[in-house]
Symmetry: C2
Subunit: 119 residues, 2 copies
């Protein structure tokens, strides 16, 4: 098998910031919300603890994909989380890479299914 | 937003053993190879170092998804890696969960694209 400069299964397009499961849930929750979401709503949607959600929000914010704003909502102090335009663009690119990976995986498992008796 | 027993964006079907990017490449490489692949070929396909590949193979083996066999191939000592039937079944379930996650992400980004002027 030849060496290659770009290994076919390195999946380098799968940005690890988005690919982590909890962060994928957070970004998916936010991707359709131009006004962002409250911390508590995001926590419920993703089934995360406060600590985990805070940790993943910090990672997304450091990457420039998300802004966290402290302010007031519904008369109470509230933390709003919103994707940046940069974050949304990078997420769309990630989803394209994910679609490629899914296609490769589906093709590989389908190829195997055509060979009965393999274990 | 109502609390739910099954948070919609927890993505619990995305088994972390498969979801890690390097392991996703390893399993995709192996999924269409009923006879398995040699360690060196797998390393080239996935663009991993010996150390990283060994570490991820151990994780997959511990989960029962993969067997590593030391033997001879082409007259040389060789290490063969092969998915188990259990691993293949679990990978197919993972791919179904991944397809769901991809659909959610695509739907969310498409919804946002319909609202011009959002940042």
């Amino acid at each position: 098998m030849p060496e290659s400069e770009d290994p076919p299964y390195a999946f380098t397009g799968l940005d690890r910031v988005f690919h982590e499961r909890a962060r994928l849930g957070i970004v998916t929750s936010l991707a359709g919300q131009p006004g962002g979401l409250q911390f508590a709503d995001l926590r419920s949607l993703c089934g995360l603890t406060d600590g985990n959600l805070n940790r993943h929000l910090a990672t997304l914010e450091q990457a420039g994909f998300l802004v966290v704003t402290k302010g007031a909502a519904r008369g109470r102090r509230a933390t709003t989380c919103r994707l940046t335009e940069f974050g949304r663009e990078r997420f769309i690119a990630y989803l394209a890479a994910l679609e490629d990976a899914l296609r490769e995986g589906t093709r590989a498992t389908a190829a195997m299914a055509l060979r009965p008796g393999t274990t």
